[in-house]
Amino acid sequence: MSAETHAGEGTGTHTRPGAHDAGGTAEGTGTPGAVSGGAPDSTGTSYIADFQVWRGDLDGGALEDFKVEVFEGEVVLDIVHRLQATQAPDLAVRWNCKAGKCGSCSAEINGRPRLLCMTRMSVFERSETITITPLRANPVIRDLVTDVSYNYTKAREIPSFVPPADLGPGEYRMQQEDVGRSQEFRKCIECFLCQDVCHVVRDHEENKQAFAGPRFLMRQAELDMHPLDAAEESGLDRKSSAQEDHGLGYCNITKCCTEVCPEGIKITDNALIPLKERAADRKYDPIVWLGNKIRRRNGA
């Protein structure tokens, strides 16, 4: 829907959901993005949508059919909440902010990894049956909730930021253009959609041991591009660490991770490919090779 369409709506060309708001107090009416799951205070148009939601646990499960009312402007998470409030009170789902900032409500909608809170119902045909399933690459816990511990395990294995020894708090000086690159990666909300869609692990549980996944390879790129990270001075080469310890080589830049990123981070182009290039430089650059030899000798 274009911006113009919305402006048209705002001038009252349709029955607005919040129509009686204007006459009342600003705080009195309307529906928040709440656990409520009840119908909005609405005279707006609604329709009945067909949903299939996967329900079950590690022992097995199946898609369950639901018919549920949908109101204008709603997102898929609103519908899941309405199911909880009216039909399936114990339906398990993770969510927090409902504004695309915390990355909790990741699931697969019609097979595509997405945030439930940022997927508007208006992107689907009204006649379409919408299927919600848990993230496929993770073991299921219950219903839409999966075991995301793989990510926390990998996070711990990435060497942390190394503060420069000669700078105290308040003495850091960095230029905006130098922090900008890492800042892009720090927009990551850790929804782990990239970790779910990446074909290296999506159907290959066995690769998880050796492969940190796009999110944590990007974390290494982020630290590597941090203007003041002192890893190198401490004897840590983040590029070869990414290559040798965290499976950077598994990535064959199909860009699936970039496609599903709700923050629009160019994971492949801006993080993984540069990291690969720099890792390759390390490996084959004879001067780097020599430098490594010398430093190692000095350090020993």
Binding site: A22, E27, T31, G33, P89, D90, A92, A99, K101, P169
Partner: protein, 661 residues
């Protein structure tokens, strides 16, 4: 007899947002074994929602800034009801807390000379907010999360176990703080001995035994219908503290952020950052008028521009122009928007217009306000670079909280209990300035962690209070009660926790909202009594494994307690100040400035606790659970008073207080 696992730690932190993680880092760096318990996944806490920045008088954007100016702004914003010692510590320590984040890897936006950039915000005299675009909260939480991991990596090197000294129990909820008799103490003397928790994934109960517990659970917004807060904000820490015998102060002060989204209905309440105004956005009504010029209160007259030309000049030349009134403290702006909408000058969906599109080029908007651009585009089909946003007030923050010692963050009256961040009361007085929350989390999170660690270290191994089996049994019965709810009386409809929650939110929103009246709040207390009874009939289906209906039923206890505190305190304070506006008492009353309203659990155990029989529960729940008393605040230290002009103090302090110094 339930078998409940027990674990022993030195310090337990409840909550893993900014305050909780900063406390955990401090306690662990003091060498104590520290456990963090949080309702969501690690790194998802509500702190990620903070957008604008961290207030700290580093003076990078204007060298005139220092802690004294920050202190003054904070006291003015809170209408002088602030616990002044907390405001002082906060202003003094905030810069160190921000700089420290850089050494842990944080990447703030920069000034031209490479220092941390600082932006303007409501109520702050100088550009003071360290920020990262409009996603500062995410940067804060991620930095603290990554520092936590860094400490775990150190421990791994030393012990072979990442979790040997710092462990995060994610997706676990604390339902009770446990207290036990102090060995060798006075008769009846008790101290904190641990917490009772359940794990969301399995529904399994466990007890963490520890002599120090830090509450860092955030706020109470989920008791209101239109709110910017996430599901976690059910007042858990507030309620846990009350139930453990601590007091809450200032609960009548609830901040309605002036700018939440109003359309579409499903996103109503989601926050629109104050940075939009700090960076030049303006508020207009349906007539296109910048109405804020009509709403500058007397106490702020000298500080704010009188014309649009002056206001616009301020962004470039703050020395010779006064601030635009869009940057008044949040309570003022929220009331103004409310009044415009009531007067029929609102936007189509019941808000007002917030416009940046005519104020700066599209690429600047996208760079400075990327999350807002994204949020409106995705959720409302509005392109903020070419059209105005529609916004209205949304419940955002509670100034009230646990009554704490300002220096140590220790909860007054409960040995071993600490509180920091939004769950602690006093720091922000009657209204919090934007940006002062993230700094509050860091300053008092660190202090709470430090003092909790020192107290735990001071106890010898056998001097620690021991959790008894009876306590565990009782907490376990209480947590399981929703599975065996009281039978619904003949003719009454069955209750479910979701419906009760909706009714609670509607009641608080309508009757104890942004503008308050005696009759409505009295009615709110009646409705709360009714809801307490109905809550005893609220049953849940299914089993204990990841069952949101059950979790909500447990959270309802907390929301009902906290809502009663808000309603009772609001009914009692017969003046308007900050986040408490009375239609029937519209003026600020200097006599009230000195007073806090203190909430405690009523002596009579009218609660529905483990010993209550189901039938009896409803009868007992009918009565109020909260006692309220008025207490004088300690007089403001003379050297701090000396930071203000006498003419300004006259507006807030009584003649008696002014002559006393």
């Amino acid at each position: 007899m339930t078998q409940v696992e027990r674990q022993q730690w030195d310090v337990v932190i409840v909550g893993a947002g900014g305050a909780g993680l900063r406390a955990a880092i401090e306690a662990r760096e003091q060498g104590l074994r520290t456990a963090v318990i949080c309702k969501s996944l690690f790194g998802k806490a509500h702190t990620v929602m903070a957008e604008g920045g961290i207030a700290a008088s580093m003076g990078n954007a204007n060298p005139g800034d220092n802690w004294e100016v920050h202190f003054r702004d904070t006291m003015r914003g809170g209408k002088f009801l602030n616990q002044w010692r907390m405001a002082e510590l906060h202003a003094k320590e905030a810069p160190d807390r921000v700089w420290e984040l850089e050494t842990w890897g944080a990447l703030f936006d920069r000034t031209a000379d490479g220092r941390i950039s600082q932006r303007n915000f409501g109520g702050h005299e100088y550009p003071r907010l360290a920020h990262v675009g409009d996603r500062t909260g995410l940067e804060l939480i991620r930095t603290l999360q990554q520092k936590t991991v860094a400490l775990q990596q150190e421990d791994y090197k030393e012990t072979g176990d990442y979790e040997s000294r710092l462990k995060v129990f994610q997706e676990c909820t604390v339902t009770r703080i446990l207290k036990s008799p102090v060995e060798g103490g006075a008769p009846g003397e008790e101290a904190v001995s641990g917490v009772f928790c359940y794990e969301r994934e399995s529904g399994r109960f466990f007890v963490v035994e520890a002599p120090s517990v830090v509450l860092a659970t955030g706020g109470i917004g989920k008791s209101f219908k239109v709110t910017s807060n996430s599901w976690e904000y059910t007042g858990d820490g507030h309620a846990l503290a009350l139930l453990a015998g601590a007091s809450l102060i200032n609960m009548e002060f609830v901040q309605f952020h002036p700018t939440g989204m109003v359309w579409p209905p499903s996103v109503k309440g989601i926050l629109v950052t104050e940075s939009v105004r700090g960076d030049g956005g303006v508020l207009r009504n349906s007539e296109g008028k910048r109405f804020m010029f009509d709403y500058i209160p007397d106490v702020f007259k000298e500080k704010y521009a009188e014309s649009e030309a002056e206001a616009d000049g301020w962004y470039e030349d703050p020395e010779n122009n006064r601030r635009p009134p869009e940057l008044l403290p949040r309570d003022e702006v929220a009331r103004a928007i409310n009044a415009e909408v009531k007067a029929g000058r609102g936007s189509p969906h019941g808000g007002v217009f917030l416009d940046v599109s005519t104020r700066m080029p599209a690429d600047v908007i996208k760079r400075r306000l990327p999350s807002m651009h994204h949020q409106f585009k995705e959720l409302a089909d509005v392109d903020i670079t070419s059209e105005a946003m529609e916004v209205g007030p949304t419940c955002h923050y509670v100034m009230g909280g646990v009554d704490v010692d300002p220096d140590t963050a220790a909860a007054i009256g409960v040995t071993g209990l600490y509180a920091a961040g939004e769950v602690a009361g006093g720091m922000h007085g009657s209204n919090r300035l934007g940006g002062n929350s993230l700094s509050d989390l860091l300053v008092f999170g660190r202090r709470a962690g430090l003092h909790a660690a020192q107290y735990a270290a001071s106890l010898k191994g056998d001097g620690r209070p021991v959790v008894s089996e009876e306590q565990i049994e009782s907490a376990s019965d209480e947590a399981l009660r929703p599975f065996s709810a009281a039978e619904v009386p003949e003719g009454e409809p069955a209750e479910n926790p979701y419906t009760l929650h909706q009714h609670l939110q509607q009641s608080m929103n309508d009757l104890v909202g942004i503008i308050r009246r005696d009759e409505e709040m009295t009615q709110a207390l009646e409705r709360l009594a009714e809801l307490r009874v109905r809550a005893t009939y609220a049953g849940v289906e299914g089993h204990r494994q990841f069952n949101p209906g059950w979790h909500l039923a447990i959270d309802l206890r907390n929301m009902l307690l906290v809502s009663e505190c808000v309603a009772r305190a609001a009914l009692t304070r017969t003046e308007s100040r900050g986040g408490h506006t009375r239609d029937d008492f519209p003026d600020m009353d200097r006599q009230w400035r000195r007073s806090n309203l203190v909430c405690t659990l009523a002596d009579e155990p009218v609660s529905v606790d483990a010993s209550t029989q189901p039938g009896e529960a409803a009868k007992r729940a009918d009565r109020g659970r909260i006692d309220l008393r008025r207490r004088d605040m300690p007089p403001i230290r003379p050297d701090l008073l000396g930071l203000f002009e006498k003419e300004e103090l006259i507006k807030y302090l009584t003649d008696e207080e002014l002559t006393a110094e």
